[in-house]
């Protein structure tokens, strides 16, 4: 499998391109490959095709790619820094905080387009900082961080359930729609804000690849090898946390991507983070773009929640890889 080491960037870019093309062509107005190509090249005067691709499908596909990439990179970073294979981007309370923020906004009646993501982002960061602040009292060890994350997450869900219980039924539906994760609110204005944030966070994490490598060896060994553990951990948590918060704010809680994609990439390309992070970004983007296309297509015109599709696609593949490799990633 390690022979992939040379070709992966090319291979993954091809796969992402294919997934995007598939995602742009499926839907209530099916587009053939040549039509799609003509629209993308600007060689057409078909207003329906242009509108469908540029107004509806492209922002949604780009959002799917961005969310998939960010969740996968954040998952890889959290798994390394917490040295826990079950870590995902939501483990430190980010999901609970984001959900609580979003549902609070819905409950207060601010369902308007831009306020919901802002509330979710603020809630996510607040939860993350609360977890970090409490865990710091115990030198921020990974066990304490995970424990604090679970507790803050439970607290947030309790408050969330209370708010849902208080809310009238139509608001509850809006909240549940958001909680199961969905990519339907894609919007260029939001993408403009979120994409640079995700990119900067990715570059920070990528430049910290060697710190992440050292973290996998345990905090004490990392320190013996020369890593300033406390500072490096804060940097990774903030970058990965902000990245997660940003995409959760846009797309709600999409599960399974951030847990599985890094494992799959690690099985194929090894755990070295200078490769793992960009490869996870590309693989995660491809995976969520495909999952989204399928969620729109399978029961069209109805949509299956995309989180269901990510789990149905990812879990069997993951199990197959685990079985075939016989060693844990």
């Amino acid at each position: 499998m390690r022979r992939l080491a040379r070709f992966w960037p090319f291979l993954l870019l091809m796969l992402l391109g294919g997934a995007l093309a598939f995602s742009l062509s499926v839907g209530p107005v099916p587009l053939g490959f040549s039509e799609l190509l003509a629209i993308l090249r600007g060689d057409t005067s078909d207003p329906t095709g242009l509108a469908v691709v540029y107004r509806i499908r492209l922002p949604r596909s780009l959002l799917a790619a961005l969310v998939g990439a960010a969740l996968s990179v954040a998952g890889a970073a959290f798994q390394a820094v917490l040295r826990n294979p079950l870590a995902d981007p939501y483990i430190l309370g980010v999901s609970g905080g984001a959900a609580l923020g979003a549902v609070t906004a819905i409950w207060l009646g601010f369902a308007a387009a831009l306020l919901l993501p802002v509330a979710a982002f603020v809630g996510a960061l607040f939860a993350l900082l609360l977890v970090y602040w409490v865990a710091r009292a115990h030198r921020g060890s990974s066990h304490t961080l995970i424990l604090c994350g679970v507790i803050v997450g439970s607290l947030a869900s309790a408050l969330l359930l209370f708010l849902l219980w208080l809310s009238p039924a139509d608001q509850t539906r809006a909240a549940i729609f958001w909680l199961t994760g969905n990519l339907a609110f894609a919007d260029y204005r939001l993408l403009q804000w979120i994409a640079p944030l995700v990119l900067v966070a990715f570059l920070i994490l990528w430049s910290a690849s060697r710190s992440l490598d050292l973290f996998t060896q345990g905090e004490e060994t990392a320190a013996d090898l020369g890593l300033a553990v406390g500072r490096a951990r804060l940097l990774v948590l903030v970058a990965a946390g902000a990245m997660t918060a940003a995409v959760v704010a846009m797309a709600g809680l999409i599960g399974f991507v951030g847990l599985t994609v890094p494992h799959i990439v690690r099985l194929l390309l090894g755990p070295a983070h200078h490769r793992l992070l960009p490869a996870s970004a590309l693989a995660g983007a491809t995976f969520l773009v495909l999952a989204d296309a399928l969620s729109r297509q399978l029961y069209a015109p109805a949509e299956i929640p995309v989180g269901v599709v990510t789990a149905l696609l990812g879990a069997p593949f993951f199990l197959y890889l685990l079985r075939a490799q016989r060693t844990l990633p």
Partner: protein, 274 residues
């Protein structure tokens, strides 16, 4: 090299180390012995500045070690622990390359000099043939060699070993010991190690440090002066005989039976050797 003066350390209110003073001499092999829980590993952590002394000081030249940046410490001191965590399937070469972290610029990549150094230490520790294997697929003996290779890749004048060979079988323990002696002689690498193996320690060390259960120094000096029946009785509470192998001259320790407060032997017939 490292000067320890009046060192005290406690976990909470439980004192671990008390009134330790010693100097690590460049080029020596110093082995720390003592009963379980006497603070041997803690002492090693204080020597590399991972823990902060409650009183007294641990200095590298003028600098207190716990105040030095971790990068600075990692350029001076490399560590091999008893067991290694290998949850992630890095290749042997990738793992050994981690030893170069402190020697590289923060955002730099491996230089050709780094790569040839890594090749050299893989050769020295006899794991070159494993270079592209994942570390998750190695045996215990191979893994400890790889950990030693990573420590050597740090190119430090001082090597700390915390029971680095104690869970290995005899052949691997001996071959790593041989390697350490070679490094000490050829490269003048100073070695401070924690061990439970009296005889191997006596054989390879210039000095032994015997810690008592209360975290004080019971004895410090050449092996023959430290491994005496009186010291073993005081520290381990056992009656023991010490003699020398008539062929090699190596010290041999025979623990006989637990000592009793009044000096008589309990159940002597069951535990004594003939």
């Amino acid at each position: 090299m490292i000067r320890v003066e009046g060192l005290q350390f406690a976990y909470g209110s439980r004192p671990i180390l008390q009134g330790i003073s010693l100097e690590v001499v460049p080029g020596e092999i110093l082995t720390v012995l003592g009963p379980n829980g006497c603070g041997k590993s803690t002492l090693l952590k204080l020597l590399r500045g991972v823990l902060t002394p409650a009183a007294g000081s641990v200095r590298w030249q003028q600098s207190e070690l716990h105040r030095l940046a971790r990068r600075e410490v990692a350029r001076r001191i490399a560590v091999v622990a008893q067991t290694a965590e290998v949850g992630f399937a890095y290749t042997v070469r990738e793992l050994v390359a981690m030893g170069r972290y402190a020697g590289q610029p923060l955002f730099g990549a491996l230089t050709p000099a780094d790569r040839s150094l890594i090749d050299t230490v893989l050769q020295t520790t006899d794991v070159r043939h494993l270079a592209d294997r994942p570390v998750t697929a190695l045996s215990g003996g191979e893994l400890q060699r790889v950990m030693l290779a990573r420590a050597l890749a740090q190119q430090t004048p001082l090597l700390l070993l915390d029971e680095a060979t104690s869970h290995l079988d005899l052949i691997h323990r001996l071959s790593i010991t041989e390697l350490l002696l070679h490094l000490n002689r050829e490269k003048a690498t100073t070695i401070v190690q924690v061990s439970h193996d009296f005889e191997l320690a006596a054989e390879m060390s210039d000095r032994l440090l015997l810690l008592a259960g209360d975290g004080r120094v019971a004895a410090l000096g050449p092996p023959a002066e430290v491994l005496t029946p009186a010291h073993l009785h005081a520290v381990y509470g056992v009656e023991a005989e010490v003699d020398r192998n008539p062929h090699s001259g190596a010290l041999r320790v025979y623990p006989l039976r637990p000592a009793r407060e009044d000096g008589s032997s309990p159940a002597a017939g069951k535990v004594s050797r003939k």
